[in-house]
Amino acid sequence: MIPAGFEYHRPADVASAISILKQHGDEARVVAGGHSLIPMMKLRMADLAHLVDLQDIGEMKGIQVGADTAVLGAMVTQHEMITHEGLAAAIPLIREAALQIADPQVRYVGTVGGNVANGDPGNDMPGLMQCLDAQFELAGADGSRTVAARDFYEAAYFTARDDEEILTRIHIPVPSAGTGYAYEKQKRKIGDYATAASAVLITMDGGTCASASIAMTNLADTPIWAEAAAAALVGTSLDEAARAAAVAAAIDVIDPVSDNRGPVDFKKHVAGVILRRAIDRAASRAS
């Protein structure tokens, strides 16, 4: 497994990176951690003439946790997200999910930006960001724009990002205190993609569910933000009927494909079980 040759670029800022992309069009690809792209290059399934390494771009690094919003540079690694105490305190869902991605070595280099921008349905961060209602900041030659995670994914490996744009930062609303959360994932082993995974946020007001957000991973060619499933919880006491209705609504909108992990009927069933467990755990954490 030997990759084909390419020209290597290591720009120091976003503007330089974009100008390289502009110059080479679809012959160029950016690389962050590279643990999705490089195996594809080694299998000669990704063909590119110019590789633009983002590691020196300071403006794409760092975690800032504010009262209302957390901002993650796209080059923030999963390891950094896991070990950042401020982020874990503000949005514990991120640590819970990041710990379930790949393995320790991959988490040291795998970045949140790469994970969300690649458009791989197997990645965990896209669904997580939909659940959290994150906004993706995209920089292009004509300045930057923001796209909601919930609007970003079009099909497997197709997203709202233009080829000459770079996803630079992710803005995540900090859930209110007492928000219940859970990231539940079934996989065959560490290092595998999800057979089914789901992210859940629940806020309670007294005994009533005030808001909820549910997203599903690797159960369609994009992450699925299951709006109707969340709606089935809101306004209820999270009784058995509501939870079952939420699961039913989520299963209705997923569209898994058969693969080595199992056929469609199995995945749909497991998706329901996993979501139910995520709802139960999130509910138990909500106050």
């Binding site: 497994m1 030997i2 990759p3 084909a4 040759g5 390419f6 020209e7 290597y8 290591r10 690389v31 590279g34 643990h35 490089i38 195996p39 080694k42 590789l51 390494d53 590691q55 390891h79 790949a102 393995d103 320790p104 070595q105 991959v106 040291y108 280099v109 560490i190 290092g191």
Partner: protein, 164 residues
């Protein structure tokens, strides 16, 4: 394909070379620098046999281009022996507790264990198993690897205490 000038620190020594950017770091280490401790096992970043330490992180060097590692500080299993040439504590504990058989995963295991214990000097068995899950071994069933790492933690902590 044109070559680039690459400079990095490997096991404490500055190295410079010309290499194609696409050269995988594992090949650069093994072929150009003749550092053959790190091995190639799966080539898709699942097995961890190629694990090296880059700037304080455990990294699978089969999934890093040498261009990306330009300027980095790299440590391999060869860099974990004591200055007098004797085995480092983790290495010694792998030997003591039969934490290896064919030896092919061992350099990656030990290099990963080194970083794990740097970050968590007193891991539980569960934390060792979770922290070592990026390294596959076909021979040992991991039980003695886990034992070796827990023993190494004890030894390192005792050494630290004695030094204080």
């Amino acid at each position: 394909m044109s070559k680039m000038h690459v400079k990095m620190t490997v096991n404490g020594k500055e190295v410079e070379a010309l290499a194609e950017p696409r050269t995988l770091l594992i090949h650069f280490l093994r072929e150009d620098l003749k550092i053959t401790g790190p091995h190639i096992g799966c080539e898709t970043s699942h097995c961890g046999a190629c694990t090296v330490d880059i700037d304080g992180k455990s990294v699978k060097s089969c999934t890093v281009f040498v261009a990306q590692a330009n300027g980095a500080d790299v440590t391999t299993v060869e860099g974990l022996v004591n200055e007098d040439g004797t085995l480092g504590v983790i290495q010694e504990m792998f030997r003591e507790h039969h934490g290896l058989q064919c030896g092919f995963c061992t350099p990656g295991m030990i290099t990963r264990a080194h970083r794990l214990l740097q970050e968590n000097p007193t891991p539980s068995e569960e934390e060792v198993r979770f922290g070592m899950a990026g390294n596959l071994c076909r021979c040992t069933g991991y039980q003695n690897i886990v034992k070796s790492i827990l023993a190494a933690a004890d030894h390192l902590n005792a050494q630290k205490e004695a030094a204080e």
